[in-house]
């Protein structure tokens, strides 16, 4: 016990702290050297096995926690608390291996190694031999046995993995079949409902006709005259000014196209046809070579021709859509007999 003196002012005057590591090592050595049962902690008693620690508080508590740490236990405790069997783990043995006499080392290692898995056993034996090469000969049979065991374990593991994969594949196949069956059931249900609606006098919009948001709409017969506003043609001209502008643009392009045809400017004609083909609402009137009945609203006339006379289109025309089933024919197609 240290006394208080002036020159030791500020220093701890309590008992000197016991090293937990030392306590751990001492406990491990006790376990290694004891054959019978051991208790973890407790005062000595006549009918009780010896204890590793006299109490379970303070440094002892920390040492016990270190010995039994879940991540890397140094000892294993089995049996009733008062007569538990405490044995070293490989990790615990490794910590004190240096302190065990060589003549006892091989025996201790064998006892420990028997309870380890093959892979752990190989690693444990390799670590011991690395520290104490002199026990190599004694431990070699253990290593070979571990090797054999490891191979057997690997084979068994492969068999297990194969079987597991086979089970998983079978599960996936079953799930696919399940999904297909569910979809078929759904189709049957929809078909059945459509038939019921038809019987009740209604129609159902197809998926492509559904409004944004996916809400299905059921339209009674007779309501077809008032379809919902189409949102797929946002560029459709609405006002008179917009319609005039599109018509003017189309007319000017057709005018230049007509001149290009007349002057034999094939390249300019092609460029203008590209532009016209890509204008929304502009469409060709007939295709060159088509044989059609003459229609004075679509075809340029020639002397003697009349409605429904068979003619052949020799140059396409151009038209602009004007609402439902109406069109403005800018340039009629040229035809010949």
């Amino acid at each position: 016990m240290s006394r208080y003196t002036r020159d030791r002012e500020g220093m701890d005057v309590a008992k000197a702290k016991v090293s937990v590591d030392d306590l751990v090592k001492t406990a491990l050595q006790t376990v290694a050297s004891t054959d019978g049962p051991l208790r973890m902690s407790g005062k000595a008693a006549a009918n009780a096995p010896p204890a590793l620690f006299p109490g379970a508080s303070g440094a002892n508590k920390e040492a016990i926690e270190q010995l039994t740490a879940a991540q890397k236990p140094l000892i294993t405790v089995s049996g009733p608390k008062d007569s538990a069997t405490i044995t070293l783990t490989a990790a615990g043995f490794t910590l004190i291996a240096d302190t065990i006499p060589e003549e006892k080392l091989a025996t201790a290692v064998k006892g420990l190694a028997e309870n380890l898995k093959a892979a752990e056993r190989v690693a444990f034996l390799s670590d011991i031999v690395g520290r104490t090469p002199s026990v190599t000969a004694e431990l070699l049979p253990l290593l070979k046995a571990a090797e054999t065991q490891l191979e057997a374990d690997n084979v068994a593991e492969a068999v297990t993995a194969t079987a597991k994969k086979a089970r998983e594949d079978a599960s996936l196949a079953s799930m696919e079949e399940w999904k297909g069956t569910v979809l078929r059931l759904r189709e049957h249900e929809i078909s059945h409902l459509k038939k019921l609606l038809a019987v009740l006098g209604a129609t159902v919009a197809t998926t492509s006709e559904l409004p944004q948001g996916g809400q299905a709409s059921i339209k009674p017969h007779g309501s077809e005259q008032h379809p919902p506003a189409k949102v797929t043609k946002p560029l459709e001209p609405v006002t008179e000014e917009e319609q005039d502008f599109r018509r003017d643009v189309a007319e000017r392009l057709v005018s230049s196209w007509r001149d290009a045809v007349k002057l034999g400017k094939a390249e300019a004609q092609g460029f203008l046809e590209t532009a016209l083909d890509n204008i929304s609402g502009v469409q060709r009137v007939g295709e060159e070579g088509d044989e059609v009945p003459f229609d004075g609203a679509l075809h340029e006339s020639f002397p003697g021709v009349f409605t429904d006379h068979p003619v052949r289109i020799i140059r396409s025309g151009w038209a602009l859509e004007k609402g439902e089933d109406r069109q403005y024919v800018i340039q009629k197609a040229q035809v010949a007999k």
Partner: protein, 476 residues
């Protein structure tokens, strides 16, 4: 009285049809499939006939017939309306004094004065003509006018039948109303004649009514005919609007937007006379018409029965302006004008005549640059002076009405130079106007109010006006 009505404005070049579906609903122009593709409600008044040996004649109408040419077995009839209104001379001989008397406007006026139904007068004319035919015997040669008249009458029946099919098909595409469109009666707009009222007595009008009846149209029970200028004025002034009061009677103030006509009707003592001056500058003719009302200072509740008409046509139109401009241009540019398709010529007119800027072409370069532009401006001014002279002559000597409005329609009214010249000429004799109605018209600083006409009113005013409940006596 008809709750609903169609009106056919049977024009020389284009026919327009309007529909009123309800006493208080606005009139709307019908766009049949066979209409012109440029202006959807204008149906070309053209009939083509193919007559092949050993085959039944085949007919084609409207847009499908518009560009056909007469050759071989095909005959194309254009501008055949005028033949309907020809007063053909007696076949192979001159009119007898009795026939001349029966066909005279004076007798028609007398018949109206003595409440003789127009149909009875027509029957009398037909009876005399039949008796004359019997006396002359078979094989009597027909005059050219008579032949054209009979041919036009036959064409009219076919044309009206085809038109009815197209119109009813177009009506089926209108928003569902549950109406039986085939049961809606029709009124036909016809040219005004010297005697104004009693137009039913005119043989041409009878031909039209017979043709419409044969074609399946249900004629309006009270007033199946209306003069074009009158219905045009009503269409423009009301903008095709129909209004009724709670009691179901006509709301003239609402329909005419309480304009000058209403001022005259409400305060005849201070404003005893009202007049609309109409000028329609078409492709081949310019029509001037006066639609006037003289209340004599008395309150008038039924103006329709008191309106009078005066009409004058000048054989000058936009095609003449094209000729003047072409003559002022180099030969290759004049040829371009002659051969340009319809849409190209319209663009040329819009650029050069209306906007006063050159028109660019790929083949003959820009038309209307520098000296050419000056020559074109002079041609337009010359055309304007020509029309203005005719209008001034028409207006001269007419005492101004208390309230007057001016309506300018037709393609020529969009040309500023021409429009200005006509507005100036319309003031001949001290005439002034409360308002001017015209397309693309801007109000001059300090000038009278202007009303801008859209395409429907500019070209479909007569058809729209012809459906108005203004002409339904039962609503007064």
């Amino acid at each position: 009285m008809a709750e609903r009505a169609f009106c056919i404005d049977f024009g020389s070049s284009f026919t327009k049809v309007a529909l009123r579906t309800d006493p208080s609903s606005d009139a709307q122009l019908v766009s049949p499939v066979g209409a012109s593709s440029v202006v959807g409600f204008c149906v070309p008044s053209i009939v083509a006939v193919e007559r092949r040996p050993d085959n039944k004649p085949r007919l084609e109408f409207g847009a499908r017939a518009a560009d056909l040419t007469t050759a071989g077995d095909v005959t194309v009839y254009r501008n055949w309306k005028k033949s309907i209104f020809l007063r053909p001379k007696a076949d192979g001989a001159h009119h007898s004094p009795l026939e001349a008397f029966l066909a005279s406007g004076q007798l028609a006026d007398l018949a109206t004065q003595f409440d003789v139904p127009p149909t009875q007068l027509v029957y009398l004319q037909q009876m005399v003509a039949a008796a004359r035919g019997m006396v002359a015997g078979p094989g009597r040669p027909l005059s050219l006018e008579s032949h054209e008249h009979k041919n036009a009458a036959a064409l009219a029946a076919h044309f009206f039948q085809w038109l009815r099919q197209q119109v009813l098909a177009a009506c089926e595409r209108l928003p569902a109303t549950g109406l039986k469109y085939e049961a809606i009666p029709v009124r036909i707009a016809v040219p005004a004649f010297a005697h104004g009222r009693g137009i039913e007595t005119h043989p041409g009008c009878q031909v039209l009514l017979d043709a419409a009846r044969k074609a399946g149209w249900l004629l309006h029970p009270e007033q199946p005919l209306v003069t074009e200028q009158y219905s045009n004025a009503i269409g423009v002034l009301t903008k095709g609007k129909n209004c009724t009061l709670r009691a179901g009677t006509i709301n003239l103030g609402g329909m005419f937007a309480n304009g000058p006509l209403m001022t005259v009707l409400k305060d005849a003592e201070h404003h005893p006379t009202y007049r609309v001056m109409l000028m329609d500058i078409g492709a081949f003719t310019t029509d001037c018409a006066l639609v006037q009302l003289d209340t004599g200072g008395n309150t008038v509740s039924d103006p329709d029965s008191m309106f009078q008409f005066t009409q004058h046509s000048v054989p000058v139109g936009i095609s003449d302006l094209d000729g003047l401009v072409a003559a002022a241009l180099p030969a290759e540019k004049a040829a371009w004008m002659r051969n340009a398709p319809g849409f190209e010529l319209e663009a040329f007119r819009r650029n050069v005549y209306t906007d006063g800027k050159p028109h660019a072409t790929n083949t003959v370069g820009r038309i209307g640059v520098a000296a050419e532009g000056e020559a074109i401006r002079e041609a337009i001014q010359a055309f304007g002076r020509q029309l203005a002279g005719a209008v001034a002559e028409f207006c001269d000597g007419r005492k101004p009405a208390a309230m007057q409005e001016l309506i300018l329609t037709g393609g020529g009214s969009a040309i500023p130079t021409v429009r200005d010249a006509l507005q100036q000429a319309a003031q001949t004799g001290g005439n002034s106007y409360i308002r001017t109605h015209a397309p693309a018209l801007k109000k001059a600083a300090g000038g009278p109010p202007v009303v801008k006409l859209d395409t429907e009113l500019q070209r479909g005013g007569s058809a729209l006006g012809g459906t108005s409940i203004y002409f339904e006596r039962g609503f007064y």
